[in-house]
């Protein structure tokens, strides 16, 4: 797997609140930017994976692929989509697969769900009978367990928000640009879904993203800085539901991590930067633990001491993540990983950024509250 496939191009539109553009238009813009970066015409795309679920893109976008898939495993979809693209190329079904995302919830466009006003208000299943609504309520159940088991505090979760806002404050194009916060700001922000305050939560943004996936040699012939896919893996937390401990695990990360790191032939010390799926502050703490950057239960003190900062043990979510950057589902982290690996992160560029760990997380079920987890390891050398 390592180095055999690459992301040849990344197209990212403006990401932000109330951009006033439809989701489809944003996807078209993102594809156009990716094609321009790769120096390709749109007929080069022979595989289309829509990281969501919508049926009319190909006509509107003027694409003519051999297949068009709607892939949906929530926030794990971008990494899963890249993995599916590799699979289709390996199976001889395509040579240049576009993995595309675009939503505009703050402008009234959530694909296939025109009644939904916010991603954060999504709710279904038996738990909705009891007033559960939104991803915050389901993640709060994990946070409460972590606080109960390890004494993790609101101020420690706040440290994640403050550090990530620090990254975003220096990064143009993020929602947090120019707006640093303090721990006091975090503590003063209103309680939304206990234990999450407003500054523990990400918010919806509009935007489009497209990546072009192909064989590494093809990518090298097209662009100066292909980003290599070194390894990938997935896990589903349903295993921990069956064991009776789903809430003590943010995700079932162990199998995803094991497979991805084995494919990449690396260990944790080789990772220069982590981009972890972070709809809520607790997500960063629990993933830093599950990946092994810090022992289980020690994630709170770790972030409070700046372990996730630019000079810390593992710089994490270096453009602000979803919390302070923008919410492009699992693409938020993949975009920043690619920028760091290409040396295009501007003032936020890390001194050494050759291998990046990205995670995705999504598609929970109502009763069991378990998600898919995706691990994707990217590098700037094959």
């Amino acid at each position: 797997m390592r180095g055999k496939y690459a992301i040849a191009a990344l197209g990212v539109t403006e990401q932000g609140i109330k951009l006033g553009r439809s989701d489809r238009e944003l996807r078209g813009d993102a594809i156009g930017r990716a094609l321009q970066q790769a120096g390709l015409e749109r007929d080069a795309i022979d595989g289309y994976i829509h990281c969501w679920g919508e049926r009319e893109d190909l006509r509107y976008l003027g694409l003519s692929p051999n297949f068009s898939w709607a892939l949906s495993c929530g926030g794990a979809t971008p990494a899963a989509g890249i993995l599916a693209a590799v699979g289709m190329i390996e199976a001889g079904q395509a040579e240049m697969v576009a993995c595309v995302y675009g939503i505009a919830p703050t402008s009234g466009y959530i694909p296939g769900n025109s009644d939904l006003k916010s991603i954060g208000a999504y709710s279904y299943g038996y738990p909705s009978l009891y007033g559960t609504m939104g991803a915050a309520s389901s993640h709060a159940l994990h946070a409460r367990r972590h606080m109960h088991r390890f004494g993790t505090t609101s101020r420690q979760m706040g440290a994640v928000a403050v550090t990530q806002r620090g990254y975003a404050a220096k990064r143009p194009g993020t929602t947090g640009y120019g707006k640093p916060i303090t721990l006091d700001d975090h503590q003063a922000s209103p309680m939304i879904v206990d234990p999450f305050r407003r500054l523990d939560c990400c918010r919806d943004t509009d935007g489009g993203v497209a990546v072009l996936v192909c064989r590494a040699d093809r990518a090298r012939s097209l662009v100066d800085k292909p980003i290599y896919i070194l390894g990938a893996g997935m896990g589903q937390n349903i295993v921990n539901w069956h064991k009776g401990v789903p809430y003590d695990h943010h995700d079932n990360i162990a199998p995803a991590k094991a497979r991805a790191f084995a494919q990449a032939g690396i260990d944790l010390r080789d990772v220069d930067v982590a981009q972890l799926y972070d709809p809520f502050t607790i997500s960063v703490i629990m993933q830093l633990e599950a990946y092994g950057f810090v022992a289980e239960g020690q994630g709170g003190p770790f972030v409070a001491e700046g372990g996730n900062g630019a000079d810390g043990v593992i710089p994490t979510n270096t453009a602000g993540g979803q919390l302070s950057g923008f919410y492009a589902t699992g693409f938020t982290g993949i975009i920043e990983a690619i920028r760091q690996l290409r040396g295009e992160a501007g003032e936020g560029q890390l001194g050494k950024a050759d291998i990046a760990l990205c995670s995705g997380h999504g598609l929970n079920a109502g009763v069991q509250n378990t998600w898919n987890h995706a691990t994707l390891i990217l590098g700037n050398q094959p």
Partner: protein, 147 residues
């Protein structure tokens, strides 16, 4: 007591199906039922196949109605207009004495008294909007003090 009818269409809208009807017909009679594996006795909710014995027969049987708060959250933000009059309220996941988890509301308990490990007991409440009888939970102490 008049036993309310259970509408399958409501169950389907909640991502359930007819396999769950015995549960909701049970709550309508103020009985909390769990789905159990006929082979090993492991209990499940909602309707499931046994993770150890997938092809074994499953049977609905009454639970004892007790459990402990495994985790919980307090909803302060009204994500939808209909929530505005209700917040703040507690959504908890109770681990029933037989093992399964159950999302619920904790009633008759000040928010500041709710904690992980709180012992609770079921109390049934008719939900007007769905016609379902919902298992709610109250602190076990509150039940004792009333009896």
């Amino acid at each position: 007591m008049t036993i309310p009818d259970v509408d399958l269409a409501v169950i389907k809208r909640l991502s359930g199906d007819y396999l769950d009807l015995p549960f909701w017909e049970g709550t309508a009679r103020h009985e909390l039922r769990l789905h159990g594996c006929a082979l090993c006795g492991r209990k499940y909710w909602p309707a499931s196949q046994c993770v150890e014995h997938g092809d074994a027969q499953m049977e609905w049987a009454p639970a004892n109605g007790g459990g402990i708060v495994h985790t919980y959250t307090i909803m302060y933000h009204a994500y939808a207009p209909q929530m505005a009059a209700r917040v703040p309220f507690c959504v908890a996941v109770v681990q029933l004495d037989e093992g399964p988890f159950f999302h619920t509301n904790i009633l008759d308990c000040p928010i500041e008294d709710i904690h992980v490990g709180l012992r609770v007991e079921v109390r049934f409440q008719l939900d007007d909007s769905t016609g379902l009888t919902l298992p709610m939970f109250v602190p076990a102490d509150a039940v004792k003090s009333k009896t």
